[in-house]
């Protein structure tokens, strides 16, 4: 019995030390932040990983793609090496994504609640770092859907909006795939690049129903977009970036993929791709805006970049097309990307 008690005591001590390690692991050096905060909001516990220079209390919140992507997938290249020196970058795992956890029903996942989550994140950062914290919001791909949804709820807490190949018009994506794929495929065939692949793209475009949205056709087109960008990269039309991220050990692969599948299915079943659009409400967004787009983005075609720029109600706005980029200009042309983002933050902070 004595041995049992000794063993129990040892285990208790080990657990205690472990818990202390957990609660004390964050860096308190504000010029070189390495914080992990959890935002608990409406049944979800969502990690926000904060890295970089917080000395001016300028926070750049990145809304990842997907839905079902993960925050730290953006911590590479010049975001890590240059932008983190300018400001604190907040890599946020959205509800049901990455390592987020919680307990809520399927009704607990929709764009409105996810936008409220972002505003809850802002409140948490203000609570921890002070009410004088300044925020920029940056959304990539699906993050470009969630960004406008957030800004339309409350844009006054943000100094600026950075839209990177974002989908403000999920509903319009299906038809634009058909239009843009036809243009790009014909261009590439004329250049005699990968004729077989691009003829396959034209065949796919002919096969899908151009009048009525279909989930299956949408996913075929979306998959073909990624495949097409890979082909364009091999043909040196899109710059091949160097990925130096180190997220493998930070996300349990099975958890991350399971969450991706689950949230994507739920949002899709709720009409994400055939009903959701903010096109008619972009004029209500009036804070400074920077729209960055890959010229050869097949996943969210450049038409949407021009449309976002034209329709945003901001008096201060800028559109930049990255001529050697696809869906991820921060990956394809990282230095130009960082220059644009840092300049925008410095002008508006």
């Amino acid at each position: 019995m004595k041995h049992l008690m000794t063993l129990g005591l040892k285990i208790f001590l080990v657990l205690l030390v472990a818990i202390q390690v957990i609660s004390c692991s964050d860096s308190e050096n504000i010029s070189n932040l390495e914080d992990t905060l959890i935002v608990r909001h409406k049944g979800a516990d969502m990690p926000a990983y904060i890295y970089g220079n917080g000395s001016e209390k300028v926070f750049l919140i990145i809304l990842h793609g997907g839905p079902g992507g993960y925050g730290l997938s953006y911590r590479y290249g010049t975001i890590k090496s240059e932008i983190e020196k300018t400001c604190a970058v907040v890599y946020f795992d959205q509800r049901g994504s990455g390592m987020s956890q919680g307990t809520y029903s399927k009704d607990g996942i929709n764009v409105d609640i996810m936008a409220e989550d972002v505003l809850a994140l802002v409140k948490v950062i203000q609570h921890k770092y002070g009410d004088d914290a300044k925020f920029f919001l940056m959304g990539h791909s699906w993050g470009g859907t969630l960004g406008p949804a957030t800004l339309l709820k409350d844009q006054h807490v943000f100094k600026g909006w950075i839209d990177i190949d974002g989908v403000h018009d999920q509903k319009g994506l299906y038809l634009e795939y058909i239009n843009f794929f036809t243009i790009v495929a014909n261009e590439q065939i004329a250049l005699e690049n990968n004729i077989e692949f691009w003829n396959g793209v034209l065949n796919l475009v002919d096969k899908v129903d151009a009048n009525t949205y279909s989930d299956r056709d949408f996913h075929d087109l979306n998959s073909k977009a990624y495949e097409g960008e890979s082909i364009l990269t091999n043909d040196n039309i899109i710059d091949k970036g160097d990925y130096d991220g180190d997220v493998f050990f930070k996300y349990n692969l099975f958890t991350r993929l399971w969450n991706l599948l689950t949230i994507h299915t739920i949002l899709n079943d709720n009409g994400l791709h055939d009903e959701l659009t903010y096109t008619n409400r972009l004029s209500e967004i009036t804070i400074p805006a920077l729209v960055l787009w890959g010229r050869h983005d097949l996943v969210v075609p450049p038409k949407f970049g021009q449309e976002a720029y034209d329709l945003l109600g901001s008096s201060s706005k800028k559109l930049v097309f990255f001529e050697k980029s696809g869906h991820a200009p921060m990956f394809n042309q990282p230095h130009l990307f960082a220059d644009e983002v840092i300049e925008f933050i410095n002008q508006n902070k």
Binding site: G102, K250, N252, T255, N259
Partner: protein, 204 residues
């Protein structure tokens, strides 16, 4: 909550009895001490989560039978064992998947004359309590920091394992298990989990 598995084991120990012959000396004993073994193991998925579990096993029933072979007979032992475990799992990289776990269930284990074992376990009662690093709860405009915040998930599991019975040794057995489980309700559905365990059984 963590005492529940032990209470369950003790309550059950008075209503259960041994059967048949065995190469284990404990088989005809009704002593709780003889029938209980303790165990400790590494439990995790190696890449992301590292953890430790400790537990107890209570030999509920045992049946030995002889299997006739060309070169004689083999004594095969089948055991039904009630088990309970508690553990701690830690995600060193971000601490976003750290928690306490407990399980209670039944193991079927087959031992051959060389002491080699295979086992299948079912743990219908299991709980996982996450421990999150620095949690801020937001309700409207109110933000509150929570200490040792986490959530409790129902976490039943199945295990498949291999092991070795070590007769007359202080460490009476070792095992390597594959554990498949779920946590529910997790986000808007469930979360499947997969871990491995490597550990030893022993008596005090």
């Amino acid at each position: 909550m963590r005492q529940l598995p032990l209470v369950f084991l003790i309550l059950n120990s008075y209503s259960l009895f041994a059967q048949n012959k065995s190469d284990h000396s404990i088989i005809n004993s009704k002593s709780l001490y003889d029938r209980i073994e303790f165990k400790a193991s590494y439990t995790g998925n190696i890449l992301w989560n590292q953890g430790i579990t400790i537990g107890a096993e209570y030999l509920w029933r045992q049946k030995a039978y002889e299997k006739k072979k060309k070169r004689g007979t083999k004594l095969i032992t089948h055991q039904y064992v009630l088990q309970s475990e508690i553990g701690f799992t830690f995600m060193p990289a971000t601490q976003t998947d750290t928690g306490l776990l407990t399980s209670l269930g039944l193991i079927w284990r087959r031992t051959n004359p060389k002491g080699k074992q295979i086992s299948i376990g079912i743990n219908p009662i299991g709980l996982y309590r996450s421990i999150l690093p620095e949690v801020y709860e937001v309700k409207g405009d109110d933000v509150q920091k929570k200490t040792l915040a986490g959530r409790i998930y129902y976490a039943p599991s199945l295990t498949f394992g291999f092991g070795k019975f070590r007769k007359n040794k202080a460490l009476s057995g070792r095992y390597f298990n594959f554990n498949f489980g779920i946590r529910t309700p997790y986000n808007a559905s469930i979360l499947p989990t997969f871990t491995v365990s490597y550990g030893y059984r022993f008596k005090f």
